[in-house]
Symmetry: C2
Subunit: 336 residues, 2 copies
């Protein structure tokens, strides 16, 4: 078996309480004993059992995170941001994947409760009332990241980029560049923050400029390359008057859309401009280089975990925090 605090106590000829005090610096211990204990600890390479410790302290130094899919670069970057802070603070990260299914999300919330995590970061698709209730019933703090609750109530702390504003800015940018016929390839309709909110920003920008919003210019994909291709095809085939620009709600779909246009001998950006969202690394190496909206998911994760730590320490934090976005001008959008 592993070496225990008792072994250390015996070998250092002190009580287990003293060893514990030395480990935790919890109470004064005479320098002499302290050294004796530390020497033995070093020598035997003793590490306190974190289960026993967690059992009594009700703190495990484990943070849970729930994401739809860890192989998605967006959630990868998010997780990396989170992990960077956790490691520095001596915490470890338990990663759970929900596939974006609400049932699974609820289940995972329970799994993490079982594991006695100190807090949870939650990235989902649609945080509706049922899910919010579920979250409120958990006895660990939760921070929503990447999306807000869809019931309009601000009861769970949230770190997010402003999707409405981001799309508004992006579409306004297209308008400033002379575009009037602007189509949208958006996210799933049931995706509150990345679907509905972005759609809202798109409409806002158009309406503000008195540009008509055309249903035939709006398609909903699922953020995959394939769906970008498919949505672009529909817009292309179902409109006799083509848009001069397409706002695509993530880079992967933007690449898919461009792929379709290339196949159809439509030149980007000469004939149609394409704007993406996220600013994944490959967009810079794509041809044409992708104009996009940069979201730093690393920073978003970082802010979220910092917020969670404050919550764990029972400090007060604003209910909602926004991460800035930035228009990245490259080649795929042309001024007309």
């Amino acid at each position: 078996m592993s070496v225990t605090i008792e072994d250390i106590a015996k070998e250092a000829r002190v009580s287990v309480a003293t060893v514990s005090r030395v480990i935790n610096n919890s109470k004064a211990v005479s320098p002499e004993l302290k050294k004796r204990v530390n020497d033995v600890i070093e020598k035997r390479n003793f590490k306190p059992n974190s289960l026993a410790r967690g059992l009594i302290m009700k703190r495990t130094n484990i943070i849970g995170i729930i994401v739809p899919d860890i192989s998605n670069p967006v959630f990868g970057a998010l997780t990396r941001g989170i992990n960077s802070f956790c490691q520095q603070k001596g915490y470890t990260l338990m990663v759970c994947e929900s596939g974006g299914h609400q049932e699974k999300e609820v289940e995972l919330l329970g799994v993490l409760a079982d594991k006695k995590v100190d807090g949870v970061l939650f990235a989902g698709v649609d945080v509706n009332s049922a899910l919010v209730e579920e979250m409120k019933s958990m006895r660990y703090p939760i921070v929503l990241v990447t999306q807000e609750a869809s019931n309009g109530e601000e009861v769970i702390h949230t770190v997010i980029h402003d999707n409405v504003k981001a799309l508004y800015d992006a579409v306004s940018f297209l308008i400033e560049n002379g575009h009037q016929r602007i189509a949208l390839i958006g996210g799933p309709e049931n995706d509150y923050s990345s679907g509905q909110k972005r759609l809202k920003g798109y409409k806002q920008a158009l309406e503000e400029q008195k540009i008509e919003v055309l249903d035939s210019y709006i398609e909903h994909g699922d953020f995959s390359f394939e769906s970008g291709y498919e949505c672009m095809r529909k817009i292309y085939e179902e409109n006799s008057v083509l848009p001069t620009a397409v706002m695509v709600c993530n880079d992967a779909m933007a690449i898919g859309a461009i792929r379709f246009l290339k196949t159809s001998k439509v030149s980007v950006p000469a004939d149609i401009s394409i704007m993406g969202f996220d600013d994944l690394e490959f967009g810079r190496y794509f041809s044409p280089e992708l104009t996009t909206v940069r979201i730093s998911y690393f920073d978003e994760g970082l802010r979220a975990i910092k917020t969670l730590f404050k919550l764990i320490q029972e400090q007060s934090v604003p209910m909602t925090q926004f991460i800035p976005h930035k228009i990245i001008r490259r080649i795929s959008v042309k001024k007309i």
Copy 2:
């Protein structure tokens, strides 16, 4: 506080032992009591404390994984494969990032020991003797995935794709397509499996066909887009006779290399063919569509976690297992 086994016992008017038996199905309990206990458990929504359980059972149902960078799609896919199996088996995954630094890797091995994980999956860069020793000293089973130990000893179980053979096959494919002047953009020289082994496969294929291996045709990148660009630039500038094909050791660098060639008005594949490695999704949407070597990292992760489970259950498994690779023919390689 949370409801405990004792609360359940009281409410069901039985002993804690009986409740425990019901929970674990460990010993026969009369149907009558069983029902009474289960009803109370249901009603109070009781979940046994996994820390207390872990403390006594010496099993936590937690698996650790150490990867260089979780935002790298390769490790993302790997992790997803692992997680898919873990979830199904009621295990959770603790994800640690090493940045590929050996010191950090050793530290994380210790962190996971602290957390009493039941086993660890390790994806690193150079698993040398020191690291192997460290691993052997851990009291949980470890499976190397994505790379083998670099000291030649097969003492840690390993799940990997055959890098030598994969490169051999890829370069042979180029040769079959008429290429003789084949350059290589490889991985870091200190990366045993993905660097040295792939280089070896490249050389083997050339030598077998009596094609001279030219130093000026070999560059080492770090698997990033940028380094692919940079390596391609060097090859382009430092050779008066250009290669007709470049074997690039991952897709990201391949895209970077193509980017450089485009910038230099060299057409791919008309002037130079480019072959990638990994088969990340975007390669299919890139233009020209990327010819590459497909590795299913999802499957690799899956096989690795299955192996680890066998080890945990003390079943015997082969020391090294190979995951198949496959040449994916697309546009970026031309027959000449």
